[in-house]
């Protein structure tokens, strides 16, 4: 386990190095002045410019510049947004929890819906149920998420009027932002309408989360189905059958546990996909998250924001990646001795 942890750490540092390097080189690749792209100090006075140039060590060679940039990142300075002049780090701190909340909720939804359905499909292999589930899964991961979002708003918000069409919570409720995680803030905060607010926040999150969850859920269906099929063909399942265990005992005691491990292995990769879907869905549902902010800064050509947003978002994805890898290794002793760190 120690070696496994060290390998993970090694990969983590390598990736972080690449990501920061990419982010640093973006300031050169974006049009305009490099220092301005890096700091967001548009139309700054000469004295401000000079002091910034000193901080980022503009006179030294490129390696020193990179390390100066790195130390600025670690002290929580990602520059100021070109358009709003607000500090990007605080901005991201304010927006990221909303995105994390939405994507975790969607992830949870996709898992609890997708995996059992996949198992059902595998148990009924080559029967009509299996084929039907596969066909639905095919449609599910072919649907463009922005279209699905629009249809969901049209049906559930406009025609049926069941759910709100956008935002994180109704403006009637005044929730004091402590962490930015809406559900946590409501529970911790002291107000008389706690439960109403909670219900309202839940009604707001369910539609976007369901829209995001559809594509990953169908992928989980396929993953769970394949995993279950391989497990059901192994000899230890045959042995349990020979021993005369009942169907339920075989499935729940032996097959499900072993196939879940295989599913968890691939779940981390899907999370990255899910975050991208969340970015687009945030635009449609007017969700105050980092995805919408990032896309808006692309419209406004706010290069400093793009740079900071990308760095934070990709590190977030990567951290989740590592955590799921770790959970997988904890659950499955076979994986700890893996030959190569990333698998």
């Amino acid at each position: 386990m120690l070696i496994f942890t060290l390998r993970r750490l090694n990969l983590f540092f390598f990736t972080m190095f690449l990501l920061t390097l990419l982010s640093f080189s973006l300031s050169f690749l974006f049009p305009g002045d490099q220092l301005v792209n890096l700091t967001g100090a548009l139309n700054a006075s000469d004295s401000v410019r000079d002091s910034l140039a000193a901080i980022y060590q503009q006179d030294s060679n490129i390696v020193v510049q990179y390390f100066a940039y790195l130390s600025q990142i670690f002290s929580g300075n990602l520059g100021t947004a070109m358009t709003t002049k607000s500090d990007i780090f605080n901005e991201i701190l304010r927006l990221l929890p909303a995105t994390i909340e939405l994507s975790l909720f969607a992830f949870f939804l996709a898992t609890i819906v997708g995996i059992p359905i996949g198992f059902i499909a595998a148990i009924n292999h080559k029967k009509p149920i299996d084929n039907a589930i596969l066909a639905v899964a095919m449609v599910g991961y072919s649907i463009p998420v922005f279209w699905l979002g629009l249809l969901a708003i049209l049906t559930f918000s406009i025609q049926l009027g069941w759910l709100p069409s956008g935002g994180q919570i109704s403006l009637l409720y005044e929730i004091e932002p402590r962490t930015g995680f809406m559900f946590y803030d409501i529970l911790v905060g002291s107000s008389d309408y706690k439960w109403d607010a909670l219900q309202n926040a839940f009604a707001h999150i369910i539609l976007p989360a369901a829209v995001i969850a559809i594509a990953p859920a169908t992928i989980f269906i396929r993953l769970a189905r394949t995993a279950m099929l391989t497990v059901l063909e192994t000899s230890y399942i045959k042995a349990t059958r020979a021993k005369g265990l009942s169907f339920n005992q075989i499935i729940f005691r032996h097959a499900v546990r072993n196939s879940l491990i295989k599913v968890i292995q691939h779940i981390g990769l899907q999370f990255a996909n899910l975050v991208t879907l969340a970015m687009i869905t945030e635009v449609i549902f007017n969700w105050p998250g980092i995805g919408r902010w990032l896309i808006e800064s692309i419209y406004q050509r706010d290069y400093t924001s793009i740079q900071g947003g990308l760095l934070v978002l990709s590190s977030f994805i990567f951290v989740v990646h590592i955590i799921t890898d770790y959970i997988y290794a904890l659950l499955n002793p076979l994986a700890r001795g893996a030959k190569y760190g990333s698998r």
Partner: protein, 297 residues
């Protein structure tokens, strides 16, 4: 000349022909292939086939519902949008933008990726290991996010989007080709060719390529369904094709505001994207199925 001995010749079809024999045995997949060919035809011939212009506006005919509606007009079969542009013609032109361009994008990425991938499979050591780690990092970033990054660098626009998606797809092809070539090079038939004195390049082109082409084509179908969705998503976000162009994603975005008065301007482009992606996925599914069947038999 008379043949005195008639014997049944045993035929060994090439890997691709074998694949095709298994492939055509599933009806649903042949439907997918049919739809795929239909879309390619549409992409090529849409300027000749489309009944109206895709960009000229005709305010007198604005917001006509589809022809089966009572208020519809038969010469505008699928209705018109807010500028009186025929939806059917726009969708047909869109086939060559969204679907046709995704095909071209995948083709370019395939050629570059396979080239780099097979070269890197033949090299060993630090260079190769670095590439491996680098690819791992790049592949862990989702394709759309990477495309958005590249579009942010290049600036919005259709051609920039296409280059961004090409760059996003290349690492996937490198990864697949590299793995497949390495796997094949470990097999004994390659050793036999080596002992015959064939050069590495000759082995690669004549022995290995025919055996890995199916995997590459399989990856190409994955890449294409991703490319269609990415082009459309970027178009929808306003980072890809500019609004007057009948790209399906951009059409959806411009129908966004009308979507309560004229829902067909939102339904139809979405259905078109769905249709194209399902057709591509069905072909890919069939390929994977066929490859698996051939491996098992």
């Amino acid at each position: 000349m008379a043949r005195d001995k008639i014997y049944l010749e045993e035929e060994f079809p090439s890997p691709l022909v074998q694949l095709w024999i298994v492939f055509r045995s599933t009806p649903s997949i042949m439907i997918g292939l049919g739809a795929f060919t239909f879309l390619i035809m549409l992409a090529i011939f849409s300027p000749i086939l489309a009944p109206h212009s895709s960009v000229d506006s005709n305010i007198a005919m604005a917001l006509l519902p589809p022809a089966w509606d009572d208020a519809g007009n038969i010469s505008y079969l699928l209705g018109t949008d807010d500028l009186g542009r025929d939806m059917l013609s726009r969708l047909m032109h869109g086939a060559s933008l969204t679907f046709g361009l995704s095909f071209v994008v995948v083709l370019i990425a395939l050629v570059i990726g396979v080239f780099i991938g097979s070269l890197s499979a033949l090299t060993k050591g630090v260079k190769s290991s670095f590439l491996n780690h680098f690819l791992d990092v790049v592949l862990s970033i989702p394709s759309l996010l990477l495309a958005i990054i590249i579009v942010a660098i290049l600036g919005p626009g259709l051609s920039n989007t296409l280059w961004a998606i090409v760059m996003v797809l290349i690492p996937q092809f490198i990864h697949i080709t590299r793995g497949a070539v390495k796997e094949e090079f470990a097999k004994t038939y390659v050793l036999a060719a080596k002992l015959d004195g064939a050069s590495k390049l000759r082995i690669l082109l004549h022995s290995v390529m025919p055996n890995i082409i199916e995997k590459i084509v399989n990856q190409a179908t994955f890449a294409q369904s991703a490319a269609i969705l990415d082009i459309a998503a970027l178009g929808f976000l306003g980072l890809g094709a500019p609004i007057p162009l009948p790209e399906w994603g951009a059409m959806l975005a411009s129908g966004f505001d009308l979507f309560y008065i004229a829902p067909w301007t939102v339904y139809l482009p979405g259905l078109a994207i769905l249709f194209a992606v399902i057709a591509t996925n069905l072909v890919g599914e069939g390929l994977r199925h066929a490859i698996k069947q051939r491996k098992d038999s």
